[in-house]
Subunit: 354 residues, 2 copies
């Protein structure tokens, strides 16, 4: 028997390593990435900034200038604190590490899988409440679960992944008020595509923090996430951040790239328009059920979803097959792509069912 | 009372946030950084690589090409596995998360402070064994501590920071053999400046892994660390790595920059020569005690160390003041700089004591 089999805790050994399927030369509509690449003119300027990075020196430890840029981009008030991570994942892990042994994380399901996975990594209990049949929060069950499990952290993706919808604002407020001893973490990864946000509410609820990321607005390659919360809260959570976690290239690149607010907002508006196009086109195909989306992707239920998924792949289009996920039988998730990508996608789906 | 004061575990609240002193325009000889910046010609080529990074896409998940580059740079056999982290810190945290609640990390002291800090972050016990008066491993005490605490992980920096020396090879082998149920982690951050390494030994000891980093060889800004170990061990530890942890800019930059093996090795040789210059020059100053170093820094004991430290700062030179660290009374640590920086540093120290 190998050393590691004896050494490593069994619940980690039991995890199947997460394999990202290679996209090869396919049209990628699987990972909530933005289809827009940088304009050539912006690349030139951007590289001239990077030329001045002193790579032999450690990064700026607190990324202050980058935080300023993020405040401007996302209209974050100076009164709130910002904590940066390598993707939201690192921030979820910092929150989980802030818990004591024996504490519990509560989330709703189906939702983003990393809440559960990171609870396991950090040896914290994980409990979930199921969404109702419309993927809306079942407020009675949720309040019941809060009272039963007394969670330390509650993660809710708003809008939700993989269902795409936002939840009732009043349900969220009920949860924040009921779970007054828990930190409620609203994961607003898809904020740029949503009608609503709790950004203006953070100052009113001491037990509320938000997560955001630049991954869905054109910069997945940067792996930059942020937590927004009360300044005192952020100051304490910051103690759990590993030193110099945001490297110099990310800091300098993000500072330059994220100041192009108009470009970023215009791209988001194009995606929202295209989301309408995709929703309408899919809804018009007989037998498909399209769920309402506030994000840059659509969840839809399709007869023989596995086959459609494979057929799309054979036609060079990669989407996400969720049909084996509990509650998501025959469901597929497609990320909104460029005008041309969306057109090609619809064409393949139409001819599959036509 | 604020929400976070009630919510956050007390041992984290008690941590004093780690403040990196601003270096302003000082000569930085405090952080084991390389003094060498990139040649202009290399920057041009490097930027042309970066121009092709698709920032709207997620990074390559397993960083395979970058691992190939690191194998070539560090002569890592194909039989060994490599795990990448945002600095060694992320890898230390992955190792600590692999432990069960109630497990113990053992390290020697004085050593790198993050072993202790990350044990606290991850809610694992931390025990230490003191080095002897020459900063060599006290093998009897260490064997005793292994039997007493039955540690799950043993961290040893080889060469050690902040003392600069490497330990007796046979002591390390005794530890690996005695602690056969522990994973022994040799942190070879300073490998480029040392006469010895355990790289060739990893294949012979199933409970041995190495940590390395590119921070001390010219690329602190990249925050790139690696764990080298048995393939099966790395495959299991990899399950605890957060997805896409190494961003696209780091992957592409490091692949290009780290292929310049001759340049990197020549720079390391210059540092080793300059280490000899600094050692000799400091030793010749009356009252100074210089510890032997296998790293890119020197630890030395100096009368009125606090005053000398301030005097250096007044003269525009920042080094590290360790005189308040247990066992290091009146000790300062200076990173080997460029020929000119080292000359200036020696001049200030000489005139201070002259």
């Amino acid at each position: 028997m190998s050393f590691i089999k004896n050494w490593l805790r069994a619940d980690i050994q039991d995890i199947n390593a997460y394999h990202v399927p290679p996209a090869l030369d396919m049209i990628k509509m699987d990972a909530m990435e933005s289809p827009f690449s940088l304009p050539d003119e912006m690349i030139k300027q951007y590289l001239s900034y990077l030329a001045n990075v002193e790579l032999n020196r450690y990064p700026v430890p607190d990324s202050q200038e980058l935080k300023r840029t993020l405040r401007d981009l996302m209209d974050i008030e100076d009164e709130l604190g910002i904590l940066l991570g390598n993707g939201s994942d690192e921030l979820i892990q910092i929150l989980a590490l802030a818990c004591k042994s024996g504490d519990t994380i509560l989330s709703i399901e189906p939702s983003f899988v990393m809440y559960d996975i990171i609870a396991k990594f950090t040896r914290i209990n994980y409990k979930n409440v199921q969404l109702d049949d419309n993927f809306e929060i079942d407020i009675d069950s949720t309040i019941h679960a809060i009272k039963k499990y007394n969670p330390k952290l509650i993660f809710i993706a708003y809008p939700n992944n993989p269902t795409g919808n936002s939840f009732s604002r009043s349900h969220i407020i009920d949860i924040i008020n009921t779970a007054s001893e828990a930190l409620v973490v609203l994961d607003e990864a898809y904020y740029a595509y949503a009608d609503d946000s709790f950004l203006k509410d953070v100052a009113n609820f001491p037990n509320l923090v938000l997560l955001r990321t630049v991954s869905k607005i054109g910069f997945a390659g940067l792996r930059l996430g942020l937590l927004i919360g009360d300044k005192g809260t952020v100051e304490q959570l910051d103690k759990l951040r590993l030193p110099y976690n945001i490297n110099s290239l990310t800091q300098v690149s993000a500072r330059f790239l994220l100041q192009h607010k108009n470009e970023i907002n215009n791209n988001a508006n194009t995606i929202i328009e295209q989301r309408t196009y995709l929703t309408d086109a899919l809804t018009n195909i007989n037998g498909l059920l399209v769920y309402p989306s506030q994000a840059n992707f659509l969840l839809f239920q399709a007869p023989n979803a596995d086959n459609l998924f494979e057929n799309l792949k054979d036609n060079g289009i990669l989407i996400k097959n969720l049909s084996n996920v509990p509650r998501l039988t025959n469901c597929l998730r497609v990320t909104v792509g460029s005008v041309e990508q969306n057109r090609q996608f619809i064409e393949v789906v139409r001819s599959y069912y036509g």
